[in-house]
Amino acid sequence: MSLEIFRIDDRLIHGQVVVGWGQPCGLGFLVLVDDAVVGSEWEQELYRMGVPPEMDVFFDSVDSAATRMAEYRADGRPGLLLTGDIATMAALAARLPELRTVTIGGIHHQEGRVPRLRYVFLTLAEEQQLQALAATGVTVLAQDVPSGAAIPLEDVLSGDGTR
């Protein structure tokens, strides 16, 4: 194991990540890639307080995450990388040709977004961002929790928010 899960989740570190994925997958570390958080000590403290002491949290920008990726990949513990939006994950994927799969864990309701799954709401621009990411060869799936189905992008985009 090493860093194998690349998740887009606008809630960043929260219950599904720490408990839902963290416990069954035995996650040893999280990598939170977010420019606002990496520039704010108190935002980092906020997220650290939500994580059990045995789990490390690393905060990165896209640039620093790409630079440190070999180090994360070499970590013997299972790890999960998080971004809060599609654009950040796409920017990271553009720097990491070895990134093959991205999971949408949660993009929630906001003005202008259309429901696609219970936990995925997207604007037209966000749908186009996901399609562009998939066109580069990255497999894009939606899966909120490990016991849930991994839903292919085409099924996400044709969804009506009830699944």
Partner: protein, 127 residues
């Protein structure tokens, strides 16, 4: 702003957790109207924070109970407390904790009661 003076706290959590635990308090004590429920279902972080803020503002309450220390409701309230909103947060709430609060305990006493009520009871195995 007019507030609901009966309400003493907001309960926020995943799914229908808040509605459920308030329902249990009401069934046991008849004091469920001391609480307002907030769910994070389908909500982005900013919307969760807005829901909690609105619940606090409309009720006049300054205490928030949440279900999970790492949960998105807890993170939203922690963000508010960092900004000095004068809020008391109790996270990891259980039914005994909420019952104690409903029956008049302050948040610290309610937490102590909740901790006392968390027990492991194992019966001996029959060979």
């Amino acid at each position: 702003m007019t507030t609901n003076s009966t309400v003493r706290a907001v309960v926020a959590g995943h799914g229908t957790f808040a509605v459920g635990i308030i329902s249990a308090v009401d069934q046991i004590t008849g004091l469920g109207d001391q609480f307002v429920a907030v769910s994070n279902s389908g909500l982005a972080p900013a919307a969760i924070e807005e829901q909690v803020r609105n619940a606090l503002a409309s009720s006049g309450a300054t205490v928030v109970f949440t279900d999970l220390p790492a949960g998105s409701c807890t993170m939203a309230v922690r963000r508010m407390t960092k900004l000095g909103a004068g809020i008391t947060l109790v996270t990891g709430v259980t039914l005994p904790t909420l019952l104690a609060f409903a029956l008049g305990a302050d948040p610290a006493e309610a937490v102590a009661r909740g901790k006392e009520s968390l027990l492991l009871i194992e019966s001996p195995r029959v060979p």
